[in-house]
Symmetry: C3
Subunit: 265 residues, 3 copies
């Protein structure tokens, strides 16, 4: 159930306003480590999270959801089947290929799912390099390559799959077949908390319910940068940062995003 209209939001501010208005049902098939933080981040953003991830329900649910996230962090057999159901429902979906390349089960699944054309692929540089076939993959959730190292791979992957590809890092790089954006800013504390990147993928799925994939990825990255910068100001460490990040996400107004240099080529 995509609530996107012909006058699709084009700026992060417009996209945030649209998410707050539509509260899009956002289905997450995601890893056990980050489900709670992801659901709370989606609620704070203004979306309606639902972690429906069992076979026999996931496909049906994807049909009524506005956006779907498939995150391969801890892909049990049931989640793998749930993902296979969900990605063919016709709803825009985001692939987060956690630790792809290094590990065979998820790597095979990621390549299989690519055939169902994700709207957005979001990963760190190592994961994007591995998925594009030009790297060995990371050792887990932490990238050992930088976003710009993955630029050519991201462009190639976008060209081959039709997806928007978002490479997370100190500067987020977002590309599709003919556009390219860099999102600067954001706090490094976001990398010292588990789930910062995974929840960003979920936010892209929420935004993909109300705007086009490239704009959705740019909006989510811009919101993450803004909320994390603000949260860092009132944090004493990673524990209080995670709490403050949810507070700031909920407090963020579309106006707060206007001033940011968003998505220039």
């Amino acid at each position: 159930m995509v609530v996107r209209t012909s006058s699709s939001p084009s700026t992060p501010a417009e996209a945030l306003e649209a998410v707050r208005r539509a509260a899009p049902l956002t289905q997450c098939i995601t890893n056990a480590v980050v489900t709670n933080f992801t659901a709370n981040a989606l609620l704070a953003l203004g979306a309606a999270p639902a972690m429906c991830d069992i076979p026999g329900e996931a496909g049906m649910f994807a049909g009524i959801a506005g956006g779907v996230l498939v995150n391969l962090g801890t892909p049990t057999a049931e989640q793998r089947d749930a993902a296979r159901e969900a990605v063919v429902a016709g709803t825009p979906w985001v692939l987060d290929p956690v630790a792809v390349g290094a590990l065979p089960v998820r790597t095979a699944l990621a390549h299989e799912l690519l055939a169902s054309r994700p709207a957005v692929i979001r990963g760190n540089a190592s994961e994007i390099l591995a998925l594009a076939g030009t790297g060995a993959g990371g050792r887990g959730v932490d990238a050992t390559d930088s976003p710009d190292d993955a630029r050519d791979a991201a462009v190639a992957l976008a060209g081959r799959t039709g997806a928007t590809v978002a490479v997370s890092g100190e500067i987020d790089l977002i590309v599709d077949a003919d556009r390219e954006a860099r999102i600067v800013g954001g706090s490094a504390l976001l990398t010292q908390v588990t789930g910062g990147g995974c929840a960003l993928g979920a936010a892209m799925a929420a935004f993909a319910a109300v705007t086009a994939p490239f704009e959705a990825a740019v909006a989510a990255s811009t919101v993450w940068a803004a909320a994390s910068e603000r949260a860092a100001l009132s944090s004493r460490g990673p524990g209080s940062f995670a709490v403050a990040f949810l507070d700031e996400l909920a407090a963020l107004r579309p106006d707060d995003l206007e001033a940011r240099a968003g998505g220039d080529r």
Copy 2:
């Protein structure tokens, strides 16, 4: 192992005192999103949580637990079998039929489990309507109907199953075969954090270890209302609210509940 005595606590204050004294072992077969928050909420309440949810252990464990929660949020095949074992152990148990109606696997399971006579059924209005057979079910954890819309369905469900039925919403409605209570107050922030309602179901299971089902549901709802109101006073948003809610739950004294208008008919 029900520690309830012949002079069973009848007020929320007495029930809270009894939970603090008995620290009832409370088994939760619950969804992946809220396990951590649920366990921490039970600890803060004074209960002893145990998330024992695999076949071959869940039934045996239910035999020594004081109360059992079966929450259908992310019902894997193993959890479904664990639930089937646990509900026949003779221990009072709470059914939380998350998203029942909309999704076939959990809907079938919920109807199957009803035969084992839950002490309490807790859900939002959409879920209670769906379980009673008079509604289409919600689109997930957020109700699209209000508690009073579900009053007749709750009464019918209580009559048919012998359970106390608790309908969560702005005002919580709690009914059994011949009584009815409304719990007012509480903070809306509780709905902006994942697991507020799921943990409430777990609290009802803890209270069901020390008092009768209707009194258990009223006590848990009253405690949730009191702690959430206090937490809201020191919160800046949903992130800090969830943290403060646990603090306030632990700080709450039975006396704090005396003043509240609890469970009038």
Copy 3:
């Protein structure tokens, strides 16, 4: 991939410095309740957590990890197979036998895994008594026996398995075949939050990547004591304590551990 060198760190301060320097990849096969807290605690400590716990990947991943945790809190069938793969990879691993003794599936698995010689076994007194064959086991995560009650059992278990055995309690007792240490201090609030002990097991796995098992267990317990004492000073209850604990873990400097009486024989 053990980064331990011939001049292995011998004090908690040296071990903390070594973890910060090496950021050892620490694989956790752990229960659903504590995955998030565990990953955040490892990040705050300076390690690189990875919750790789599915068959077909867990063994391979253990081969590149520096330390592995096997926690039996909610052992699904897939996790049991993943654990079997991981413990034969040759990487030092920690066994946390949650609720062993009381529950048959995990008890059988714990005894089976012992054959693969854990570097460290960490549990509460009831669990250690049960694993050593001299107790009935706890009723879950809360011990009903005190660490000194389990001293003889711990010594026997260490002798039989070659492992360092860490018994958590008000005073942590750590023994191996010929040494014995007691770690005093720490805040009782750590027992009012779910995952304090489980994350301690994960920390022992991280430290086991950079030093010997006995020293790893002592270092982790010492760090937990120091960070929890500091966190208690700025906490209003268990909710804010869990947040502050992560902040203090990240802020802790090796120097802060020098003054503590760590690991006397």
